[in-house]
């Protein structure tokens, strides 16, 4: 009974400013529950951010972060002079550019095409089937891809059937970007179209009716109603895509590449993995990681600025 009274007075008093003690009493359970949450974010999100200081040190496991010697920008300048620097930067940007130009629009086109389908059962079937690869693990997908493009695999069997020479897809660096991008489209086109389909369904149907009465063809309706209606969604997705440009995809690349294709396949993140985890060069690989994040951030800000300038909507 006493407890109910205090809770009640707590709610009655909301209009008046409360003392810190009262607030603490009212919310103390909430703060107790928040402890593990805050601990998690500090330990696994903020500690690593702080941990990036090792990029400016000669970090050694035994001496730890506080005792290791500071070396300034040594590791950064080593990276800029690394024989693989340009190759890594070029590959990171090129692989992402390929997927930006081919994979990103494919989901929009998919949504537009699905939107035109009148038969609901067919539409549902296509959706259900094309969402499916999203649920298959990258390891399995990489296994399938490498099997299909191997010298005695499905693709080469088809090529041979047409009387052409076997193509060494897996070992020739020339083909890596294509394999990576096409398998990426296969994996994600359906799933990524969901967001555009939902944006399409939010467009006012009255607009189409009005346009049809005015005699606008389907093409004109698509260009003057559908696309403008999709534009804000496209802009947001594009900014987010560019904002994650330097870090996406490396998990799949690790599965698909091999030393013979490093020429086109090795990206900054995979290099960090090999140097840092396999090679235990923590400071050097952390510096490369910081470099990567800085470029990523610049790209994000640039994309956001560009989007705001051109169509008025941005992420921040």
């Amino acid at each position: 009974m006493k407890k109910i009274g205090s809770e009640l007075s707590g709610t009655v008093q909301t209009a008046m400013p409360k003392s810190k003690l009262k607030l603490l009493r009212e919310y103390h359970e909430i703060y107790i529950m928040l402890i593990p949450v805050v601990l998690y974010y500090i330990l696994f999100k903020y500690m690593p951010m702080v941990g990036n200081v090792i990029a400016f040190q000669d970090y050694s496991i035994t001496r730890g972060i506080f005792e290791s010697e500071f070396v300034g920008l040594k590791h950064f300048s080593t990276f800029l002079k690394d024989v693989y620097f340009w190759r890594l930067l070029r590959n990171t940007l090129m692989l992402n550019l390929w997927s930006l130009v081919l994979e990103f629009p494919s989901a929009i086109i998919m949504a537009l095409l699905l939107n035109e389908v009148r038969c609901l059962a067919f539409k549902k079937t296509v959706q259900t089937v094309t969402y499916m690869p999203h649920f298959i693990s990258s390891v399995i997908i990489a296994g399938m891809v490498l099997d299909f493009v191997s010298n005695d695999g499905l693709i080469n069997s088809v090529i041979n059937r047409f009387g052409l020479e076997t193509v060494p897809f897996i070992t020739d660096p020339k083909y890596f970007r294509g394999i990576y991008t096409i398998s990426g489209i296969w994996q994600s086109v359906g799933w990524n179209s969901i967001i555009y389909i939902s944006a399409l369904s939010a467009i006012d149907a009255g607009l189409y009716e009005a346009a049809a009465i005015d005699g606008a063809s389907r093409w004109r309706q698509t260009f003057h109603i559908t696309l403008p209606g999709l534009l804000p969604t496209i802009a947001i997705m594009l900014i987010m895509r560019i904002g994650s440009m330097m870090t996406t995809g490396y998990e799949k690349i690790i599965l698909l590449y091999n030393p013979t294709t490093y020429e086109t396949a090795d990206v900054i993140s995979t290099y960090v993995y090999r140097q840092g985890i396999r090679g235990a060069q923590y400071s050097y690989s952390a510096a490369i990681g910081v470099f990567n994040s800085v470029i990523n951030f610049i790209l994000l800000v640039f994309a956001n600025w560009f989007s705001k300038r051109t169509n008025g909507s941005g992420l921040f």
Binding site: E7, L34, L43, F44, P48, I54, V117, G143, F148, G243
Partner: protein, 291 residues
């Protein structure tokens, strides 16, 4: 509806054809793996690899796969990681979202900002690895569960759901004398079962399919998650094999085992997929509207 013009009809035909093509392009690779997995290994490798139906019929591939103890260890570990991980994920996410959806909680905005900040800025692979290492989590089961305990986008889905619930329910519970723990357990959780189901599925699928944390943090093969075991079976040495022109019978068996392995490890996911698909789509929608 207005009558369709000739151009629109032609478009509709091409559109249907194109989407049917997409349908086949998505399904065929999966069917191919299924066909190859039940084909006769020697027959499969004697001819071209274009398959429209199984070539011969032979289930020995599956017998070989089922005898592979590594695969079963991987299976067991992944089931453990998925169940334990998802339980922790879901409970922490609910707690976080509940606490930070309280109106007027002092310091709420600061904590929220700090959490959202981590979506755009992360410590990166190496410093995170070192944190895990310094906490002595390497090669421990916890290494695959703790570092990803809350997924911030799932947290935001949950948060926006809690925010959307009417505040009166909570006020009524307070007047009845319930404290914040009771409100969470007896009022909020029963009201948000649908949303909890969505994020639980998100987490579970993520655990089932993830291999990167395992690759980074686990060296002991007995603690490998399924995906890492699969990586060993499917991908190791795939580049070397490419120089080989003729394949003898033993190799042919080894190759077809790969197909059977793919089937065995993906079937659970594809069996539940039709049932969970619409929850997933719902989750994308919530995330899209609020995000």
């Amino acid at each position: 509806m207005l009558k369709r013009t000739k151009g629109e009809k032609i478009f509709a035909v091409f559109n249907t054809l194109f989407l049917t093509g997409m349908l086949i392009a998505t399904l065929y690779p999966c069917l191919y793996v299924l066909f190859a997995s039940i084909s006769d290994p020697v027959e499969l490798y004697s001819g071209s690899k274009i398959l429209l139906c199984p070539r011969g019929f032979n289930l020995t591939n599956y017998a070989h796969v089922l005898k592979n103890s590594m695969l079963w260890i991987g299976y067991r570990n992944t089931i453990f990681y998925t169940v334990a991980g998802t339980l922790l994920n879901v409970s922490l996410t609910i707690v976080a979202a509940y606490c930070l959806s309280r109106r007027g909680l002092p310091g709420k905005n600061f904590i929220l900002m700090a959490i959202v900040f981590t979506m755009y800025f992360s410590g990166g692979m190496i410093p995170t690895y070192l944190v895990v290492k310094n906490l002595h989590l390497l090669d421990k089961f916890a290494a695959l569960i703790l570092p990803g305990a809350i997924n911030t986008s799932n947290f935001i889905i949950m948060l926006s759901f809690f925010r959307g619930l009417p505040g009166e329910l909570e006020e009524a519970a307070k007047i009845d004398g319930a404290n914040n723990y009771l409100i969470l357990i007896q009022v909020m959780i029963p009201l948000s079962k649908a949303c909890i189901a969505v994020i639980a599925l998100y987490y579970a699928v993520e655990h089932w399919n993830s291999y990167m944390p395992g690759l980074l943090y686990i060296n002991n093969m007995r603690k490998y998650p399924l995906q890492l075991v699969l990586r060993e079976i499917l991908l190791e040495g795939s580049a070397q094999q490419n120089g080989v022109v003729s394949i003898d019978d033993a190799d042919a068996v080894a190759e077809t085992i790969k197909y059977a392995t793919m089937v065995v490890s993906t079937v659970p996911m594809l069996c539940v997929y039709p049932f969970i698909q619409r929850y997933f789509v719902k989750g994308v929608m919530i995330g899209a509207i609020k995000g």
